[in-house]
Symmetry: none
Subunit: 415 residues, 2 copies
Amino acid sequence: MVNAEIITIGDEILIGQLVDTNSAWIAKHLNSAGINVYQISSVSDNAGHILKALDEASQRADIILITGGLGPTKDDITKKTLARYFGIGKMLVHQPTLDYITDIFTKRGIAITELNRLQAEVPENATVIFNTCGTAPGMYFEQNGKIYVSMPGVPYEMEAMLPKVVELLFAKTGQSAIYHKSLMTYGIPESLLAEQIEDWEGALPIHIKLAYLPEISSGIKLRLSATGDNKDLLNQQVDEEFGKLIPRLGNAVYGYEPDSLASVIGKLLTAKKASIATAESCTGGRVSHLITLIPGSSEYFKGGIVSYSNEAKMNILEVKQTTLEQFGTVSRQTVEEMALGAKRVLNADYAIATSGIAGPGGGTFEKPIGLCWFAVASPKKVASYSQMLTSDRAGNITRAAANALNYMRLLLLED
Amino acid sequence: MVNAEIITIGDEILIGQLVDTNSAWIAKHLNSAGINVYQISSVSDNAGHILKALDEASQRADIILITGGLGPTKDDITKKTLARYFGIGKMLVHQPTLDYITDIFTKRGIAITELNRLQAEVPENATVIFNTCGTAPGMYFEQNGKIYVSMPGVPYEMEAMLPKVVELLFAKTGQSAIYHKSLMTYGIPESLLAEQIEDWEGALPIHIKLAYLPEISSGIKLRLSATGDNKDLLNQQVDEEFGKLIPRLGNAVYGYEPDSLASVIGKLLTAKKASIATAESCTGGRVSHLITLIPGSSEYFKGGIVSYSNEAKMNILEVKQTTLEQFGTVSRQTVEEMALGAKRVLNADYAIATSGIAGPGGGTFEKPIGLCWFAVASPKKVASYSQMLTSDRAGNITRAAANALNYMRLLLLED
């Protein structure tokens, strides 16, 4: 098996100001391509240190992936240092990158500076990997049978570039095939899920492995990874195994990666030619943010009301004052009136509503921090339930928004 | 200065299943104690690999901190491997740890197993650091003038143990101090900022270093790191340097870490005893989500309208039909009416509005993808501007929301 190493460059990692999330992202994708990550090292923005790390890594691995240090400022020295490592004196302007940078700045109405222009330069032995999300180009090098790839440290720039890098590496290394597919589930806790599917997991063929990947915002992802020679066959075998599992999990399954709760709701609404609206209190706009992250959501999303004040609940969502007085803002009655109100005033077929106490303040004995009510309304009915959330403010908001979307998904399925 | 290295052990890190958050946590605490982290390495649960990593680290650093691989199961081999590294054949039972483990299991009504008992054993050259949150003891070693500390990989167990470790290291090493402070800026592109402050950066004393840390959602963070003997003096010197810089950057400076654009708006509104509302189109709820992530935001945030349809813009925000027909939804006229409408219907003193084309669909020749209009309204006026955003849908939404918050901040400052 081919070995890779990841080197992340940046003082901010070594002083603990930044958690290195890039390494896990890269490692996951290399693994999918059948490339083993042997070691991950984080080093400082220092030429001597980077050179030493490159040297050590090239003794252990065949592929060295580097992130960080490609910005336009003085402390970004990766490009210069790589040129020095390869003994390259000459830098060349990569014209498509310079054109792209110029275009971005022109659009923004800002004059391009010498520092920006320098970003388009690469060592003459580099093959440029185009950066579609930023100004620093990625670079691919080969030397003494080893492959070196340098990528930006800004996560979304690196993430946009990585599929192209993995494709290049896969082609270069001629790996035996590996195939991954991930089933998305929401609503069954991890330990319960593990018990429920233990026998299925135990009966998996030896070349197919299972991983549990839980995340607050998307539930538990079940990833099957199959290795062998024939990718089509692996694909078929993985589908067969999931085919046995899915009927046992019922409507906890909502799709395969990259489906999200919001994208699945979008598909269900599109199929019904129906529209949706939101009324949010404790989730503060996160539910509508998740819905509108989906391209094309303007076709079915009418809009949302973030009713953070009782005034907004009454004046815009038409929640009755007597309801708020009698039952309080965090109650079944209020959240159902919010959902019905959003559906009516935004003229939608379906609506989602949330009302809860995200913390850290605002809790009482009867209505403690973490209590959250969820309601969904359809052309036929309104339904609601409550749950106690047990994380901090940001965690509670994240989970509440995911719960709300999942609740709507279940309503759309039965409707 | 004393150098430390962190080694995190675990296959789950190398396949990207787990983001290594322990390293950043440890690095931050070591830095506060004046101990420089030179490198971070993540290695597999393999004895040969761990031995090699220990050997390499001890050549570069004076202190080696290790996390992970201390559990009771077969794949946890750190303790055995450390004993082998130090050439220690004999393991001793640490009685307080054994008593503690026995106590935990007795309380849970579970019989203690041989595997649990083995967790209380440590190499005979180890000084035990008591684990108050779990069954695996921490261990402190000295050999050839180097210090080695082994901690559990479970974050909350490590975090509970770390202050004791830092105290030990601080006492052993008699460190010089290090002090960090980060200035938050928004609105000046990185390359322009670098040119603008080049002479200031060049004139920094040798013991004070600058780093640029850009992020879409928060602008560019300028971090000064000062090293020396006297922490109070360093604090004062860093403040003096920032004192020279701040007047040159004007209102691009919005605070010091951990201030965010949303938290600063919250403080400004609280000082004015004023309230705010939002009207979002392209940002789809992200602006209100960011505002409501701030604890206590319910004191000043009245609510928001996500007006994704023209219907919602007209019916709820009271944007005039003639405005939409004449100028379109993405226009100065519409976004200003949205801001004024949100202010009025949510009965707020201030309002933010956004309307744009986030992509990937929806662009036209006259109104291309990325075009975004921003408006802010105060008791006295309404103002607006437009910008071309150049990222993908998610990136455009992130930047548009940050721009909108910054625009409101600027309005609140001049008001």
